[in-house]
């Protein structure tokens, strides 16, 4: 009974949210240009399924492309930063500073450089999502038990040996934990870029429909965005538990 309730509860809560939303719209007679009820959003989803599907796909693939670059770049930079204390000290303030710049301010620059299209969206997704990956990978390396390092160093292990045998494997739970955070950020990046300047994607669709007062389409696009985000989060949460089962069982689960 409890297991069943546990499985159903996410669905029930989501359904409950829509019911409350629908009821509130009707009870308070809210203007549909302010907040359309979910039934209208879903109706718009069905009615305009062709353009919405196309824009959803564009957003999905640009996000995944930017995210893929962020993962590759983030792992490499994280390993470099975690490798040496000097590089860590030197690079960290720069990265923090960079991360503080609102990415929406960078999008116009990217559009000037690469023109309207998918490239600025991919790059914005990359720029916004690589930071947590770098930090987590570097943390995984930096928190290695010094005694274990001693055991291996006394045997004549080189730094590379220690990295390959201990550092990189123990970074895995930190990395996979960060991917869940990074994928949702990547969606934010893509949509920000599409809203500022693009000719396809859900962000573009939202901006366009918003300027035409087609609020049902705006909300339909927002819901689709949420669905894509949840789906990708679920994929990476599954990958995390699959690859780092040991981290969930052992006491060393700092990133879980």
């Amino acid at each position: 009974m409890n297991a069943l309730a546990g499985k159903l509860s996410p669905w029930l809560f989501t359904l409950g949210l829509f019911v409350i939303w629908e009821a509130a719209c009707r009870a308070f007679n809210i203007d549909r240009f302010i907040l359309p009820p979910p039934s209208e959003a879903f109706a718009a989803m069905v009615q305009y399924w062709r353009p919405l599907a196309r824009h959803s796909f564009v957003t999905l693939w640009t996000t995944m492309a930017g995210f893929a670059i962020a993962v590759a770049f983030g792992i490499i930079l994280g390993l470099i930063v975690g490798w040496s204390r000097t590089i860590y000290r030197g690079l960290y303030p720069v990265m923090v500073g960079f991360n503080c710049i609102p990415k929406v301010a960078v999008v116009p620059i990217l559009i000037m450089w690469f023109g309207i299209g998918e490239v600025p969206a991919i790059l914005t997704a990359f720029l916004i999502s690589f930071f947590p990956i770098v930090v987590n990978v570097a943390t995984g390396l930096a928190t290695m038990e010094p005694e274990l390092e001693d055991v291996l160093r006394a045997l004549g292990a080189r730094k590379l040996d220690i990295m390959l045998k201990v550092g990189i494997p123990r970074t895995q739970p930190y990395l996979f934990g960060s991917l869940k955070v990074a994928i949702t950020l990547a969606f934010v990046g893509t949509v920000v870029s599409e809203t500022v300047g693009a000719n396809a994607g859900l962000g573009y669709q939202i901006a366009l429909a918003g300027s035409n007062f087609q609020m049902a389409i705006v909300f339909a696009a927002l819901l689709l965005l949420a669905i894509e985000g949840i789906a990708m989060y679920a994929v990476f949460a599954w990958i995390e538990t699959y690859f780092t089962r040991w981290a969930f069982r052992s006491s060393m689960s700092a990133a879980a």
Partner: protein, 262 residues
């Protein structure tokens, strides 16, 4: 296979944020080939520094360390180490944890792939002698603390080191498990015959296991007394209740109380 250890008049300073800390000053200590030596002392007396010096992880400011006739200048490679925390890698099975040193240290490193089956057998045999037969394919987190420490001992011994360095290896265990592991260590030592330096807080542990107990002073650490333990071998746990055993423990205890006063 065993090695003698000769620490001669060693001084070590740690460079900290707020100036240097003198950890060891004029420390001398001699351990014969195959001897079981224990080092006891008040906390913070530089016992762990001694471990790092002997294994070549840090270099002394002055003085010399000679192992088996060779002056230590870098990582010694012939030592096995175990600490209070077993530090097993949670993503590796117990057997692969035990085999880890063979992937690092020569000559095993170069033929590890070809000889893997043979090394596995050796590791299984070693696990069996510490009472972990059949646990090789488990993961560390499936084992109790005492069992993890047994596996950690195996990892320290798999490459047949001439010298075993132990830094309070049993401090985190309950009293019964600890006494059990004393016997495990005693049997391993008697069977294989390596040299041991055991750093500990536990005077009974030191007296039960060691040939000689060295008492260190508070920082900067110095060996103030080296007390030979003249109890017959092989020793049984019952020896802990004999008057002569208690006498030695008392004597050591008095000495430590004295150096703490200073």
């Amino acid at each position: 296979m065993s090695a003698s250890v000769d620490i001669g008049n060693v001084t070590l300073t740690y460079k900290g944020m707020s100036g240097g800390v003198l950890a060891l000053k004029g420390t001398s200590l001699a351990v014969r080939r195959g001897e079981f030596a224990a080092v006891v002392g008040p906390s913070g007396c530089g016992k762990s520094s001694l471990m790092k010096l002997v294994t070549g992880l840090v270099n002394a400011d002055s003085g010399s360390i000679v192992i088996a006739g060779n002056k230590v200048v870098g990582p010694v490679k012939i030592a096995g180490m175990a600490f209070q925390n077993p530090n097993l890698l949670p993503w590796r099975k117990v057997i692969d944890n035990v085999l880890l040193p063979l992937e690092i240290v020569q000559p095993y490193r170069s033929n590890f792939r070809q000889q893997r089956a043979q090394y596995r057998e050796q590791a299984e045999a070693l696990l069996k002698t510490v009472g972990l037969g059949g646990f090789g394919d488990r993961y560390p987190w499936e084992l109790s603390g005492g069992m993890q420490q047994r596996a950690s001992l195996c990892r320290a011994l798999i490459h047949q080191p001439a010298l075993l360095m132990l830094d309070e290896p049993f401090a985190a265990l309950d009293a019964f498990t600890r006494e059990e592991l004393w016997c495990v260590l005693r049997d391993l030592w008697q069977k294989i015959g390596f040299t041991v330096i055991l750093v500990t807080h536990d005077l009974r542990e030191a007296t039960f296991l060691a040939d000689t107990v060295h008492v260190m002073s508070a920082r900067p650490g110095q060996i103030v007394v080296s007390r030979p333990v003249d109890l017959p071998r092989p020793r049984d746990l019952d020896i802990c209740f004999e008057p002569h055993f208690t006498e030695i423990v008392h004597e050591l205890r008095a000495k430590i109380a004295e150096v703490r006063q200073r």
